[in-house]
């Protein structure tokens, strides 16, 4: 139910135009139109929101101002504060992060016979993986191919993806689906076993596999269960606040901090897998976010301070359809699957102003244009929104489709008195994904020897924009990959004397560059307490 008069009047226009709109297939924008649109309206192109890094491996490169403050921020500890001589944990492989990539890496490292441990600042499963709704891509159907998948992802990412990583993503995709199926993940299938697949924005074939609209949750809870079955130690509510190297400059562990008692602990490891996820909780440019509470770019800070390069850290993904109303779910993800199933984007006047399945960056920019210069947005308490006409789904696919295919969306809005089967919903772009991150090779290793990385913390797999369903895929493919390589490498590593000298070196660089930032990093958690 909408009580606002403007919304009610606008809904009447949406309803009146629905019959006609349902029959439309708005043309896709040309490459030139997209380029102009992005430059004018996409948040990545707002120059005053970015700043140049003064020190570190990416010196001279631009990053969001909020990220620069953390990358060039103050370490939480000094080197002399920690006794490295008597580690609290000594393992073969240390996995930092308890999301989909970390869990996949840990399972493969365990499978490879090594002693692996997961450390995570919240609980295992507290991750963006858990919140991924729409699906996971894999070119496994006749009429599709890994090459077609490559073309879609490469083009959607503005021809900037690291080619060897993208090659790995698309060729390992079907095996990732098989691996998950064999662990017991329940994919939507027809009675003969054929995967039920749909389009995502920018896909040229229907290759989006799903588990209703709980795709990530279904994958994450299964991986978590498997980690627990294998009795892999999980040190939870414990954050990594600094990486440890050995005297030869190789990564050799991490300094941990109990999130509740603040106790410092030392973990020594032969190899380390960084799987800390994204950065939505930094709220770049003041955007709301669809991300988990712990998404604060910690991994970028840890790796950068230790000397690892970042790739495309200036590219962020704003998911076109974050909830714009009501306020209680402002910024929450409304899965792209809603559009895959046929709901269209409709402005305040009832007009279908764009094809609903453009890539995410283009869709977000187009919605922002509609709400700003074109003045066709619906006013909300937080700003403006555009209608996502969900009742179209049942018109196109039959009654009951919403409850069967997107029950989480029905529940999310239902809790606030909106029946998405009968009423459209208001959406606006929300900060969703970190396209860039730590640079890796195709065996998952960063610039620092024995430091591997996987999942959203990595940059380069998707270029400058990611397609729907390629992130759930990347955490599995590259999580497994990092786990395999890190555990293999651990079998031949002998660790030298531990040191935190890179903190001193970084502090010196900060001083030399005249930077005095009081903000401590990694950030660990956002602070939403009321400022009085």
């Amino acid at each position: 139910m909408y009580h606002d008069t403007f919304m009610q009047e606008s809904i009447k226009k949406v309803e009146a135009a629905r019959e006609a709109n349902v029959r439309l297939d708005p043309r896709r924008m040309t490459a030139e139109e997209k380029e102009v649109l992005l430059k004018t309206y996409h948040p990545d192109y707002r120059e005053n929101q970015f700043t140049e890094l003064k020190i570190g491996p990416n010196k001279g490169g631009e990053v969001p101002v909020e990220l620069a403050e953390l990358l060039q921020g103050k370490a939480r500890i000094t080197a002399s504060q920690v006794d490295l001589s008597n580690p609290d944990y000594d393992v073969d492989v240390l996995v930092i992060g308890g999301g989909g990539a970390g869990a996949s890496a840990a399972i493969e490292a365990h499978e490879n016979g090594t002693n692996v441990m997961i450390v995570t600042k919240l609980r295992i499963g507290d991750a963006n993986t858990m919140m991924a709704e729409g699906g996971i891509q894999a070119a496994d159907k006749p009429g599709d191919s890994p090459a077609q998948h490559y073309l879609d992802a490469f083009g959607g990412g503005h021809f900037a993806a690291q080619k060897d990583l993208l090659y790995k993503l698309v060729t390992d995709a079907p095996d990732a689906i098989r691996w998950l199926s064999e662990l017991g993940v329940e994919f939507d299938k027809a009675t003969d076993g054929t995967m039920i697949t749909t389009h995502g924005g920018g896909t040229s074939r229907k290759r989006m596999h799903a588990a209703k609209d709980y795709s990530g949750a279904e994958i994450m809870r299964t991986l978590r269960d498997e980690v627990l079955n294998r009795q892999i130690p999980v040190v939870d509510f414990t954050a990594v606040i600094e990486l440890i190297k050995d005297e030869n400059g190789k990564c050799a562990g991490a300094v941990l901090q109990n999130m509740e008692t603040k106790e410092l602990l030392v973990a020594k490891a032969k190899t380390v897998v960084l799987a800390t996820g994204g950065a939505g909780r930094l709220h770049y440019q003041g955007f709301p976010t669809s991300n988990h509470y712990g998404a604060t770019a910690d991994g970028l800070v840890l790796a950068y301070r230790a000397g690892a390069r970042l790739l495309y850290p200036e590219t962020l993904q704003y998911h076109p359809t974050g909830a714009a109303f009501p306020a209680q779910i402002y910024g929450a993800l409304v899965t792209e699957k809603v559009r895959s199933l046929g709901a269209m984007l409709i402005n305040a006047n009832g007009e279908a102003f764009m094809n609903p399945l453009e890539t995410r960056d283009v869709s977000a920019a187009s919605i922002i244009r509609e709400c700003t210069d074109r003045g066709n947005g619906v006013p909300t308490p937080e700003g403006f929104g555009i209608w996502l006409d969900t009742p179209m789904i049942e018109l196109k696919n039959g009654e009951g489709t919403i409850e069967k295919r997107i029950p989480a969306m029905m529940r999310m809005f239902g809790k606030h008195g909106i029946d998405i089967r009968k009423e459209p919903i208001l959406i606006y772009p929300t900060l969703h994904y970190q396209n860039g991150g730590v640079k890796i090779t195709d065996d998952g290793q960063t610039d620092i020897e024995n430091l591997y990385a996987a999942g959203e913390v990595v940059g380069g797999i998707h270029g400058r924009n990611r397609l729907m369903g390629n992130s759930l895929l990347d955490i599995i493919v590259f999580g497994r990959n990092a786990g395999k390589h890190a555990s293999q490498k651990a079998k031949e590593v002998s660790v030298g004397a531990l040191t935190l000298s890179h903190i001193d070196a970084f502090n010196q660089e900060l001083a030399d560059a005249g930077i005095k930032i009081e903000t401590v990093s990694p950030k660990l958690l956002p602070d939403y307490r009321r400022v009085k």
């Binding site: 896709r28 040309t30 490459a31 919240l122 507290d126 858990m130 919140m131 894999a138 070119a139 496994d140 009429g143 890994p146 090459a147 490559y150 073309l151 879609d152 490469f154 083009g155 021809f159 080619k163 090659y167 698309v170 060729t171 079907p174 098989r178 199926s181 662990l183 017991g184 993940v185 329940e186 994919f187 299938k189 076993g193 054929t194 995967m195 389009h199 040229s204 074939r205 229907k206 709980y214 809870r221 299964t222 269960d225 627990l228 079955n229 509510f237 509740e260 669809s290 988990h292 509470y293 306020a327 209680q328 779910i329 993800l333 029950p407 989480a408 529940r411 958690l525 307490r529 009321r530």
Partner: protein, 224 residues
């Protein structure tokens, strides 16, 4: 100024704006959350909460992230609940009735009180899915429990000491691995990839200059 309501966190009174969720209200009151806060959007089960409204004897349960505050609400959070998780090897278990008897025998002590269903923060028919599990009907148990976020509130209310979310987790894995129809086209594609069928095509794409890739991308056919 928005209307304020009185809520009681662990018995202590705070005045908070009426539009906030319980989680936001705690932060408004000054709590910096570490436990009891996860995805903030109803998917992770971190913020299980129990409450009563003054004057009403009913004990209510919810997720703090997706429930609005009410006037005179007495709130206690349940950030952790000790569920029993049986350890098993998914390769060795089989989807038989015996496996539940072996791993979660307490489900057969269900007294049918329906407290689990009444407590479910997702509105699921928990007692029904336990009944399916008892009978070895794992496909039905999987479907009925699918939207479970494993918050554990059901188990906190259960006189038979059942760990419902873990029972359902086992049922879903059994169903996904052993009972769901096998996907043949997936096997075929993996075989093709292993045989190198797409090597040349991909290498060709990887070797093309960006101008050619743009041409290919911008004119690719999109499946209807």
């Amino acid at each position: 100024m928005e209307k304020l309501v009185n809520v009681y966190f662990f018995g202590k009174k705070y005045a908070v704006p009426e539009s906030l969720t319980i989680m936001e209200a705690m932060e408004y009151a000054g709590y910096q959350l570490v436990r009891g806060c996860g995805c903030r959007n109803g998917f992770c089960g971190a913020c299980s909460t129990i409450y009563r409204i003054a004057g009403d004897r009913t004990l209510r349960t919810c997720l703090a992230c997706s429930t609005k505050v009410e006037d005179n609400m007495y709130v206690a959070t349940l950030p952790f609940f000790p569920l029993v998780k049986a350890v098993y090897d998914i390769e060795k278990v089989k989807p038989t009735e015996q496996i539940m008897m072996q791993l979660y025998p307490e489900i057969y002590s269900c007294i049918g009180c329906n407290a689990c269903t009444n407590a479910c923060t997702q509105g699921l028919n928990v007692m029904q899915y336990i009944a399916y599990a008892q009978r070895g009907e794992y496909e039905k148990c999987a479907e009925e429990s699918f939207d479970c976020v494993m918050c554990g509130v059901c188990s906190s209310r259960c006189p038979a000491e059942i760990s419902h979310p873990q029972v359902a987790m086992l049922a879903r894995r059994l169903n996904g691995k052993y009972l769901a129809p096998h996907c043949d086209h997936l096997d075929e594609r993996i075989q093709e990839i292993n045989n190198g069928k797409y090597e040349l095509l991909l290498e060709d794409l990887m070797g093309k200059p960006v101008s050619e890739m743009k041409e290919l991308y911008n004119h690719r056919e999109i499946e209807k």
